[in-house]
């Protein structure tokens, strides 16, 4: 009998926001220092030893960080949820959310007023981002690879822990776009589903050794294949493939209840094996060239197949089954008592390949949407980071395919939005403040705090104390390299804005982003950029940033709305 213990009463904390300041500022400091291409790396490990994670990505940091304050738990959970949906813009969301909370908390205005107005401001932002007139939105043309490459390059360069140089970034970006192109079906009318890119890890090799090959690679131990490697073909020069998802080990394991009485001298195992060999015979008769089994194949059957020049691959695992049926077009067979020829699939060719010390069976299909990305990096930690980056890039490309838009990166979207909001609310404030029942001053203060939070995301791109400026015409973000006196002539120091679309000219007016409260808004709407989409621009995924913005504001609102925390102490 279990011991009965009296339940402890819960801990009641009223006004939880008063205790959150210190842990919140610590979290902001961690997140801000990771942001952007120049972000600082974080080494995560536990004191006992073991695995070390070197990263600057929000998904890894928030996943490993144990946050104790309940309010921050909500915040990190919300960012993690966003990242699991969109892969990108996790740090943006987290930093924006934290600075919103911090800035709003200092305002001393009733939280329901803040929530109403920030919701109103958010809707201004989202409407603007979706509108055609938006100055920070770039439409993506899939017939022109350059924009896609820009998107992927921006993602790879913003993950400094991958330790890539410029050539490696370019090479990987091409590979990732190529892999993505493979997964897009040629005839979307028949099957409008994106294929799959399977990442094959190769650690300890140079990044430049990475490649993309069409078809599927299944890892196998070397000894299986006699040299020369040949595969039996059917009359039409294709390779017939059978996939089993049932165990072919010859073991009897029926999960049925009840008992089976077996008479003397009868061996069910033998009977099972006989049946397996029957299957083998039928496979030989049907001119099958390759047998893949998810589970184990009995050694005698394996030998039998080998003798008949059929390649048998077992222990393929569940994860391969879906791409396997996509590549071969076969249906996994679940019973060794009935083989239907309609389940067979076919391949163009099967080859044995080896990369580094690993051996693979390469299934080459006629026409497929499955490809394998062989990803190399020098060591385990950087490989992990690189894999996360590649997955993000692939996901971003998929999201972009759904919604062919991108946003200007390098902090330009944030500063542009902020200047748009300041300008917009300046002429709206009296009428809007009436709608949400607050005074124009409150409205102005909250708008200022909101814009300041947006700009503080852009500001966290600079890590060496370099100044951050914004121009008065386009509202873009400009980073001054560190080590220059602030009073110098800016147009000489600056060459391009954060996203790389605007070049500096004499007639642009700049101002500092940092000391911002009470700054005057620009007279007219921020203009659309003068430049065209160029080769080396920084672009962000539209869907991810759009969602991140909304999630950040909603999460901040929800945290501001908290009136108490009740902690169960059992």
């Amino acid at each position: 009998m279990s011991r009965l213990e009296a339940k402890k009463p819960s801990l009641f904390i009223s006004e939880p926001l008063t205790t959150v300041s210190q842990p919140l500022s610590l979290l902001i400091a961690i997140l801000k220092s990771c942001y952007g291409p120049a972000g600082r790396l974080k080494q995560l490990h536990n004191g006992v030893g073991g695995y070390v994670c070197l990263t600057s990505q929000s998904s890894a940091i928030l996943g490993h960080l144990s946050v104790s304050h309940p309010v921050l738990k909500v915040l990190t959970a919300s960012v993690q949820n966003h990242v699991s949906r969109f892969s990108d813009c996790g740090l943006f969301t987290a930093i924006l959310c934290c600075s919103l909370i911090e800035n709003f908390k200092n305002l001393n205005i009733a939280s329901c007023t803040i929530i109403k107005i920030s919701k109103h401001l958010l809707s201004l932002c989202t409407d603007y981002l979706k509108s055609k007139a938006c100055g920070c939105q770039v439409s993506v043309d899939f017939s022109n690879l350059e924009t896609l490459l820009c998107l992927v390059r921006s993602i790879l360069t913003s993950k400094p822990a991958c330790m890539l140089n410029k050539t490696e970034v370019d090479c990987l970006a091409v590979l990732i776009v190529k892999a993505f192109m493979y997964t897009v079906p040629c005839h979307p009318e028949t099957k409008p589903v994106l294929g799959k890119c399977v990442t094959v890890p190769l650690k300890g090799k140079r990044v430049l050794d990475s490649t993309v090959i069409p078809g599927l690679l299944i890892e196998t131990p070397e000894i299986q294949f006699a040299k020369p490697f040949s595969v039996k073909r059917t009359s039409s020069d294709a390779v017939k493939v059978v996939v089993f998802c049932v165990s072919m080990s010859g073991d009897l394991f029926d999960p049925e209840e009840g008992t089976v009485t077996v008479h003397h001298k009868i061996s069910l195992e033998m009977s099972e094996l006989d049946q397996l060999l029957n299957v083998g015979k039928q496979l030989v008769n049907d001119e099958v060239g390759l047998v893949v089994c998810q589970k184990v194949i009995h050694p005698s059957l394996k030998q039998y197949l080998k003798d008949n020049h059929i390649i048998a691959v077992d222990r393929a695992g569940l994860s391969v089954m879906e791409p396997l049926s996509q590549v071969t077009g076969s249906k996994p067979i679940a019973s060794i008592y009935s083989l239907s020829p309609s389940c067979y699939g076919s391949l163009k060719d099967v080859r044995a390949e080896s990369f580094a010390s690993k051996h693979f069976v390469h299934l080459i299909p006629n026409d497929t949407t499955v490809c394998s990305l062989i990803l190399c990096n020098r060591n385990e930690t950087t490989w992990d980071e690189l894999k996360r980056a590649c997955e993000t890039a692939e996901h971003v490309l998929q999201l972009t395919l759904k919604e062919p838009l991108a946003l200007l990166g390098g902090g330009c979207t944030e500063t542009h939005l902020a200047s748009y909001l300041r300008q917009k609310t300046c002429c709206l404030s009296t009428s809007s403040s009436k709608d949400v029942e607050c005074s124009p001053t409150q409205y102005q203060l909250i708008t200022d705090a909101f814009c300041h939070s947006l700009e503080s995301v852009a500001c966290s791109l600079s890590h060496d104390g370099g100044e951050i400026l914004t121009d008065m015409a386009y509202g873009h973000c400009w980073l001054v390299p560190s080590g220059f006196p602030s009073a110098s002539n800016w147009s000489d120091l600056l060459s391009k804005c954060g996203c790389g679309i605007n070049s500096s000219t004499k007639d642009l007016n700049w101002r500092h982003l940092q000391p911002l409260f009470g700054s005057s808004p620009i007279e007219s709407c921020p203009k659309e950029p003068s430049g065209k989409v160029t080769d080396f621009m920084t672009l962000d995924c539209f869907a991810a940033k759009y969602n991140g913005l909304q999630v950040a504001v909603e999460t901040a609102n929800l945290i501001l709305d908290l009136s108490c925390v009740i902690e169960d102490q059992n």
Partner: protein, 684 residues
């Protein structure tokens, strides 16, 4: 013995804990569960439960509040506030004496205040057709919005209200049967996705099952689906069955037969036009294999709730191929307009469009929010809102049910004041309210109360200050005739009236089969023929009055009564309690009337919170209008159910009576058997 000194402080502390979450200006609470997961809520019941209270009397208070909420879907926080205010005001004077005066106060002041004072101010949530009709769209929105205002943050209310209204409208849940199904199966009728903004939430046609396809064969157009609850592959052995294998060949043949039989069943299903197999259990790999081969999609491992939902919506029962030969016709098949996989976050769903067999048009709600905790909060809130809406209907159902009976049975209504009876009735009707039809409910109520009827009768006879018989002939009392007058003033509205059991009927109580006294609102009645005759004599003169009220045995409040939200109910009741208290001579009752009347004001006070002079201004404006007989100055669009509110006041009074009557608290070593509480907990 005086009441325990800690009672007031405990109630005040509880009120302090929930006050922050009350009303539209309140904030929400973050509950951290023992496993570290966060739960966001403004729900009074969850807050009280999360506190993990230790003082025994505080636990009683919290339990009463939770019980009230599970009955009406609303009001645990208000309950605590009102309780604290009443107890606080009772500090002076003798609490025991006050407790003894409470029943008299309730009967002679409170009920009159509601029945006569409040009635002219009430509005109806039903369009002119009266109860039983569809709930008006505007009223639905106003009710939902007001309910959600007290539970969600300012940024979400509007969006969730619109979602709730859309769901109700598209499900056909503005009528009672569909609403009952929606409420009972809400857990299966919504899905949540985290990491997205609330604006992405949608109402989708069809049903979402929290499973992935075991086999998916895309099929366009309308198709048939069957429901199975056992594996379609025959088994060689079973529990307690022994299978003797005599030869290897026999074993192989047996296994081959199993496979062949599975294929035959699948072929049969496919030839019957079945393209979708919904299974309550895990199917054998061979079944999946043959299904894929024959182009039948399979969804397996459905929970029993999902199976129940499907059979309820589509009106089918599980298909079982074992008994009949494979050639038989497949009768139990549902028509499905589409079926496809749906990915919400990392969770895969099966999205099936059933064509409905009943009043319920299957639609489901996809809730989106940055964190799961918010989704849970929204779902729990909407569920609570539907429970609250159901209160408007359930009463209607019971009245209609009783209406038919009242043709051949008399309308003898006992009004029991025993808190025990009250609780039992409420709990019972909740337990079955979610899934069963009203007749069953009635039956359950009757069964329960039958046991209580003799107690009731005793109580009635003990009551010395029963309502004196009026000048009207027969045993039926003044109450009734007064109410009938009220009916005229209320115009076209169908008027319910409270019938007090006259003292002279004590003997007949014993013969009565059941006296279901849902105190005020839903009064279900059945009695034996003897009683019918017995009463019939006295009833004649009232026939005319009953004609006006459509012969509904009835209560003080009619179905679907609503008031604007924001403290109007409390102020009105405060005003009218004071008004009617003046007509009562008994000093104890007058004292308690003033206590309750003042305590009621604590709720609007808390609603207005820190806003300066907000409450005072509101109070003065409203009472001024009342005094001058002008319409109330209402600038609120939201509505609330008066039934719930009235129920709240009476529950608080019962809780006070209970608490004040405790004279000794005994700690016991062994855990007490508590059955009723558990039921209502699980029920939520």
């Amino acid at each position: 013995m005086a009441s325990r000194p800690g009672l007031q402080q405990e109630a005040a502390a509880l009120a302090g804990a929930v006050r922050g979450a009350l009303g539209p200006r309140g904030g929400r609470a973050l509950l951290v569960r023992p496993d570290g997961r966060a739960l966001l809520t403004r729900d009074g019941r969850r807050l009280l439960e999360a506190l993990g209270l230790q003082p025994p009397t505080a636990r009683v208070m919290a339990a009463c509040a939770c019980r009230h909420q599970s009955a009406t879907g609303d009001g645990a926080k208000t309950f605590v506030l009102l309780l604290a205010a009443v107890l606080g005001a009772m500090r002076e004077g003798s609490p025991r004496r006050a407790a003894r005066a409470l029943p008299a106060f309730e009967r002679r002041v409170l009920e009159r205040a509601v029945a006569r004072g409040l009635r002219p101010h009430l509005r109806s949530a039903f369009p002119a057709g009266g109860p039983g009709e569809e709930l008006e769209a505007a009223a639905l929105e106003a009710l939902l919005e007001a309910y959600l205002r007290g539970r969600l943050g300012p940024g979400e209310r509007r969006a969730v209200t619109l979602l709730g209204c859309e769901l109700c409208a598209r499900c056909g849940a503005r009528r009672p049967p569909a609403l009952r199904l929606l409420c009972g199966r809400f857990a299966q009728l919504h899905a949540a996705a985290a990491g997205l903004p609330l604006a992405r939430s949608r109402v989708l046609p069809g049903v979402l099952l929290r499973r992935d396809f075991a086999a998916y064969c895309p099929a366009g157009g309308r198709l048939r689906a069957v429901l199975v609850t056992r594996c379609l592959r025959p088994v060689l052995t079973g529990p307690g069955v022994e299978c003797a294998v005599r030869s290897e060949r026999q074993h192989r043949a047996a296994l081959r037969w199993c496979g062949g039989r599975t294929e035959a069943v699948m072929e049969h299903l496919r030839s019957g036009g079945v393209r979708l197999l919904l299974s309550g259990v895990k199917q054998h790999e061979e079944v999946i294999f043959y299904a894929k081969l024959h182009g039948v999609s399979v969804v397996e491992c459905l929970s029993s709730e999902e199976v129940a939902l499907i059979s309820e919506i589509a009106g089918i029962s599980p298909y079982d191929p074992a008994g009949d030969s494979v050639q038989g016709e497949i009768a139990e098949a549902a028509v499905v307009t589409f079926c496809q996989p749906l990915l919400l976050g990392s969770q895969r769903y099966v999205h099936i469009g059933f064509s409905s067999a009943g009043a319920f048009q299957p639609h489901c709600l996809v809730l989106c929010a940055p964190v799961d905790a918010i989704n849970e909060q929204h779902a729990a809130t909407l569920h609570g809102a539907f429970t609250m809406l159901l209160q408007l209907f359930r009463a209607v159902d019971q009245e209609c049910g009783a209406e038919g009976e009242s043709q051949n049975s008399a309308s003898g209504v006992g009004s029991g004041y025993s808190p025990a009876t009250e609780t039992r009735v409420v709990t019972e009707s909740i337990a079955c309210g979610s899934s069963q039809v009203s007749e069953h409910q009635l039956g359950a109520c009757r069964g329960e109360t039958a046991a209580q009827s003799s107690d009731l009768a005793l109580q009635e006879s003990e009551r010395p200050d029963g309502t004196p018989p009026a000048s009207a002939p027969g045993p039926h009392s003044k109450e009734l005739s007064v109410c009938t007058d009220g009916a005229d003033s209320a115009g076209t509205h169908k008027l319910p009236a409270l019938c007090e059991c006259p003292d002279g009927m004590n003997e007949s109580h014993r013969r009565q089969q059941a006296v279901c006294s849902h105190r005020n609102y839903c009064t279900a009645v059945a009695s034996t023929a003897t009683l019918c005759e017995h009463l019939g004599v006295g009833k004649g003169p009232e026939k005319a009055g009953y004609g006006v009220t459509q012969s509904c045995p009835s209560s003080i409040l009619e179905a679907g009564s609503v008031l604007p939200v924001g403290g109007y109910f409390e102020i009105l009741l405060h005003y009218y309690i004071q008004h009617y208290a003046k007509q009562v001579q008994q000093s104890a009752v007058t004292v308690i009337s003033n206590v309750v009347a003042d305590a009621l004001l604590s709720i609007p006070k808390a609603l207005y919170g820190t806003e300066r002079n907000g409450f005072t201004k509101f109070y003065l404006e409203t009472t001024e209008a009342l005094r001058k007989n002008q319409p109330l100055p209402v600038n609120e669009k939201g509505l609330e159910s008066v039934y719930c509110k009235y129920q709240l006041v009476t529950s608080v009074l019962h809780c006070v009576t209970e608490l004040l009557n405790i004279d000794l608290i005994i700690g016991v070593k062994r855990p007490l058997q508590k059955t009723e509480d558990k039921d209502s907990d699980d029920d939520f």
